[in-house]
């Protein structure tokens, strides 16, 4: 997109209340940071983005819409930052519903004192992530709160996508004998953030797996159109997603410990802190349920995509106690994998 006018610049090094006041300082900030990063809209800047219906209608018969708030500490971490997270997270929420993500909004709440350079970096990162995912950031909002009232920056993104007419992904479609697949290493994001936070003084080369999954989803759905359902395994990890799936389908799901893809550093982190990797957050991992006779096709399609190279079948659904998720341990024993009560905390015992 071309800039139709000269963009104003912000000279201040830090965000102040003035940048949220609705006056010139705010307009300059939006110009310098957001318009510069995201590009100017086709029309003049109004209070809303205006989106043509016709190209949307050509690709599907339903809109998908989702909204997600992003708070993360630290704002910048190996493998991503709050900006890429805010784009990928919302894109993924659309993609796992079978939607083709198209538009995003971006609403930021800034804490006074946030370095303007950090905000520029976050905005650039959002733009890069949006470009990679093939979505446009078309509208947004900026608010500034007092120091201490938020943690640097909070971002809310809302996404709109189109669902092609033939697609019907739903966790209620899961049937006994269906196979559960993930597209790669589990727990990278959760473990990388724990290390990046620094308060446990752990150092690793781990990076967040933060990535937009819409391309991967398309590859999978092309190969296996009768995929039952998809979920992205963010907060609460794979265990939480599987519990929701078992609950909705009134089936049991059994996981195989031996086939869980875990990096050695994630295992190391979990051993040191007494955490269970099944509950660690991911930001670029989906859980796919496919009919058993399509498992090989699904796995092959995922593995052909860069984000699915390490895909693995991790379990299957069966008609057992409704809503139950279990893990068959390497040792041949079995244990229940329940929903977590609260947040997983490091332990010494």
């Amino acid at each position: 997109m071309s800039h139709k006018r000269t963009l104003a610049t912000v000279n201040a090094a830090f965000i102040t209340q003035a940048h949220g006041g609705g006056g010139k300082a705010m307009k300059d900030l939006i110009d310098d940071v957001f318009i510069r990063a995201f590009g100017a809209p086709e029309d003049t800047l109004e209070d809303q983005a205006r989106l043509a219906l016709e190209p949307l209608c050509r690709t599907g018969d339903r809109l998908a819409m989702t909204s997600d708030g992003f708070v993360v500490k630290p704002l910048f971490f190996p493998g991503g930052d709050i900006g890429s997270l805010a784009v990928c997270g919302t894109v993924n929420d659309l993609a796992v519903g079978g939607a083709l993500p198209r538009y995003l909004s971006c609403s930021v709440i800034l804490e006074e004192g946030l370095p303007v350079e950090d905000l520029r970096r976050i905005a650039r990162s959002m733009k890069e992530a949006a470009d990679r995912a093939g979505v446009a950031i078309v509208t947004g909002d900026t608010k500034v709160v007092e120091r201490g009232a938020c943690d640097g920056i909070f971002i809310t993104t809302t996404g709109v996508g189109v669902i092609p007419a033939e697609r019907r992904l739903s966790i209620e479609q899961i049937q006994a004998t269906d196979v559960v697949i993930v597209n790669g290493w589990l727990g990278d994001h959760g473990a990388a953030i724990l290390a990046a936070r620094g308060d446990l003084s752990l150092e690793t080369a781990l990076e967040s797996d933060c990535a937009a999954l819409n391309g991967l989803v398309e590859a999978l759905l092309e190969a296996v159109p009768n995929t039952r359902c998809l979920r992205d395994a963010t907060r609460g990890g794979v265990a939480t997603v599987l519990n929701e799936m078992a609950e909705a389908s009134q089936l049991s799901i059994e996981l195989q410990d031996a086939s869980l893809p875990l990096r050695r550093e994630v295992r190391g982190m979990c051993e040191i802190l007494g955490l269970d990797p099944l509950y660690l957050a991911n930001e670029g991992k989906l859980v796919a349920v496919v009919p058993a006779d399509r498992a090989d096709a699904a796995l092959a399609a995922l593995k052909r995509h860069p984000l699915g190279r390490d895909a693995s079948v991790i379990g299957h659904a069966y008609s057992g106690k409704p809503g139950r998720v279990t893990l068959r341990t390497l040792f041949g024993g079995q244990r229940i994998v329940d929903m977590l009560v609260g947040e997983q905390l490091p332990r010494i015992c």
Binding site: S201, I272, R347, C349
Partner: protein, 94 residues
């Protein structure tokens, strides 16, 4: 009650304060090694040692030969007589 994990000492960071860095499956952390050093094991000799890490402290050196013996005992369970002999020999060693 006590989560302990094997790690390998990779550097000695501060001899006076008994600090070293340990590697646990690709995760590094500074730990205190006061409990595993003595005249026979001065700090500088500890690099490469495998230790049991608990709450940021190395609490003991891991005896690799003893680990081998333990596994050998399990492998010998096919033969009850050999197992008895091995248990006896382990008891004597103590």
């Amino acid at each position: 009650m006590c989560l302990g994990i094997p790690g390998q000492i990779i550097t000695i960071d501060d001899i006076d304060n008994r600090l070293a860095t340990v590697d646990v499956s690709g995760v590094r952390r500074q730990i205190n090694i006061a409990c595993i050093i003595d005249d026979a094991h001065p700090p500088e000799s500890c690099v490469g040692d495998w230790v049991l890490v608990h709450v940021g402290f190395a609490l003991n050196r891991i005896d690799a030969a003893a680990a081998e013996r333990t596994l050998a005992m399990l492998d010998m369970l096919g033969d009850t007589h050999e197992l008895d002999a091995l248990i006896d020999s382990q008891e004597k060693r103590q």
